[in-house]
Symmetry: C2
Amino acid sequence: MGSSVNFKDELRKRTDEIESILRSYLPEEKGFAITMAKAMNYSVTAGGKRLRPMLMQETYRLFGGTEKTVEPFMAAMEMIHTHSLVHDDLPALDNDDYRRGRATTHKVYGEAMGILSGVALLNYAYEVMLQAFSMTDQTERVIHALQVMAHKTGLYGMLGGQSVDVENDGKPMDKKMIDYIYENKTSALIEASMMTGAILAGASKEETALIEKVAKNVGLAFQIQDDILDVTSTEEELGKPIRSDEKNHKTTYVTLMGIEDASGQVRKLSEEAVLLLESLDRKNEFLNTLVHELVGRRK
Amino acid sequence: MGSSVNFKDELRKRTDEIESILRSYLPEEKGFAITMAKAMNYSVTAGGKRLRPMLMQETYRLFGGTEKTVEPFMAAMEMIHTHSLVHDDLPALDNDDYRRGRATTHKVYGEAMGILSGVALLNYAYEVMLQAFSMTDQTERVIHALQVMAHKTGLYGMLGGQSVDVENDGKPMDKKMIDYIYENKTSALIEASMMTGAILAGASKEETALIEKVAKNVGLAFQIQDDILDVTSTEEELGKPIRSDEKNHKTTYVTLMGIEDASGQVRKLSEEAVLLLESLDRKNEFLNTLVHELVGRRK
């Protein structure tokens, strides 16, 4: 794993594996509600890094997990994440016509179906996760993982963060509020991903708490790096319009503390995350490199 | 329970009990995401018959259930139902400014918060249901109940029905499609309510299947009665505008087969439901009367 060429090969291999797991859990496109199924699958198969299921699977491997129980949770996590993107793009929220070069779900299927198919994805994630009970004898672990997924997705996690973000759109915000939004809108699902991987593999309470801290740092660093790239990257590199935060009068880490201090924060958070991971008895070299690459990424 | 006076007293008593259970499971209004919590609680506390949790609790009692395990499921069911109303009222769907005499959620909190708090209610329902694992040793029953709730809520249940309804809004529909919409948009959550009550009380597979059939009939009859009241009732009696189906060019049982045959369907479906309930060894007189009153209601 020393060279970045090997890492890229490994990354592609794992992404392909996740892609095939995810597709195996998507709903069939048939029956009266076929348009809803199509809209759900359209948004999920629009691509993306599949970062959250990857972090889940690698954390599961870190703690010695070998069963298939993690797979429905991986698929569900990507469905939950995608649901939040579909709703973020709606006219009443960010009003985006394109995502990853494709027309957004509501542009293709209409606004009502954008709303409903986003909700249906979230609900389908629970249907999929509940299948895990028939895949293992470790019922308690599945229950605990479900509880973490639900909590980090909802009012006290991602959705709460999204609501505060929407409510304060274009208004000046202080660092406390920005931190709340980043920790919930972005970190919460990354925490749920890594914690679920740990829990399903049988990690102890202490180990799961440490993983939560790692994930929180990764999420924050990832989001601050987003702020930085919006200012320092080119449109070609990033694959989407740059300087959008400035145009939208958005408060970010860069507007709050400048590029240099924001970059310092990213370094600090990611170094802390890697140190925490290295403090464990167990090792997953790929996970360490993944965390490192994520926060230092150029796109 | 012979006289309708007694039934009304019993109904009020039970509604009050459900109201207090429901309120005990609502999120606290505090922290950064306080507006989202407020929007969630605003919609849930807007009133309503609490029919679904009542059917759940009475079916639970029918099968001898005595634990508190059913309570989080009752609260969750009302949250799921409310979430569907909040989204139905959105500008992209039915665009309703009022429900039960109060401004709809998006009119008070804005469209973005209407969408997000509706989703948050659905997700919170899962958080609440997952609490049931710590309230009983009957883990398998809770898992089964969760699976039924998720399935009947989603693509293959209420949300699927909602999507087909929206997709065909104002278009002519045949009876097959109307039946699909009624069975999913309306019956699915009533089925989930009664089945969950049965499952949590330890009903057999056969009994649960019978209850599903009862609930399907109740849901259908309830919805057809809605179609009939829209034509035969007065605005004073119904508490909402009448003849709205005609104005919106909606296909209903009344437009498909006329008032007389539609009324015949309601009678047939409800008689069948009561006969099925009476075929069981167990009795719940209140549940029988409730089913009877529901389908014959004047509002």
